[in-house]
């Protein structure tokens, strides 16, 4: 229900695990945490949406903001999402063409490790 945020490091990537509902009320907390991570020097950030059960346009706006911030800092930003209802949201908004979306944290961290490798995330 409530938003939960937890950070861990995997293969030199900062992985932010998000759970609960990301909406107009909780999205500012997600934004704050992402800004803190980038300000603290994180440059390869993966947001794991595996435990998110609701995501709205405000949450999507926060994720785009993080993508822009990391792009400006020569960093990388990826999402982990395998739930069909959430994937549909990315497709409908065309944001699946903006974010790299991976099925697992392992796929996300190895893909951004090897960005020139051309391997498929799935």
């Amino acid at each position: 229900m409530e938003l939960s945020l937890a950070t861990r490091t995997v293969a030199e990537h900062t992985v932010l695990e998000v759970g609960g509902e990301v909406d107009v009320y909780t999205a500012p907390r997600l934004r704050e945490r992402l800004v803190e991570l980038v300000d603290a020097g994180a440059r390869n950030v993966v947001v794991d949406l595996g435990r998110v059960d609701f995501l709205d346009s405000t949450g999507l706006g926060v994720l785009v903001g993080a993508l822009k911030r990391l792009r400006a800092a020569n960093g990388t930003f990826g999402l982990v999402c395998s739930k069909e209802p959430l994937l549909k949201i990315f497709r409908i908004t065309a944001l699946d063409q903006v974010f790299p979306i991976y099925p697992s944290v392992e796929a996300a961290t190895s893909a951004t490790d090897d960005r020139d490798g051309g391997g498929s995330a799935a």
Partner: protein
């Protein structure tokens, strides 16, 4: 005649309440289980839009949500913002979504409208009949057993 009517002050914290009520009434009305996630998202987007407009214009007025389940499930979300505020509703093309020049507000508005249009087959955005404001009207089919004679 609305089955359930809900009014809330334009604060983000109440949008979740509107979503919960909207889905509960939809379930009772007989909206198919597989549509409920979309109902939840669409009602949330419509209410988020209304709250954003009231805050943008400094309006303390309540946002109204009306739910009716006569032949279909109809949800109307009514704001009291000036009509011209609704003109900005437009779906953004993919190459503009992460454009540096696009403000967070414009992005969220565009994405919110894309979600509404994408998830609601029967969607109308129209001026309210009396005074300032816009009604976002969303309709979903209901399936329920035929009434007993």
């Amino acid at each position: 005649m609305a089955t359930v009517r809900l009014s809330f002050s334009p604060a983000p914290v109440h949008v979740r309440t509107a979503r919960l009520v909207g889905v509960a009434v939809a379930r009772r009305a007989g909206v198919a289980e597989e549509l409920l996630d979309e109902v939840r998202l669409a009602i949330g987007e419509a209410c988020t839009r209304a709250v954003a407009l009231h805050r943008q214009y400094g309006l303390p007025d309540l946002v109204m949500v009306q739910m009716s389940d006569s032949d279909s499930y109809t949800v109307s979300v009514i704001d009291r913002a000036p009509i011209e505020a609704s003109v900005g509703l437009a779906k953004l093309p993919p190459d503009e979504l992460a454009d540096e020049a696009l403000t967070d507000e414009a992005l969220t508005t565009g994405v919110g409208f894309a979600l509404l249009a994408g998830f609601v087959d029967d969607l109308q955005v129209r001026p309210v009949e009396d005074g300032a404001g816009t009604e976002v009207r969303m309709v979903w089919p209901v399936s329920r057993p035929p009434k007993q004679r």
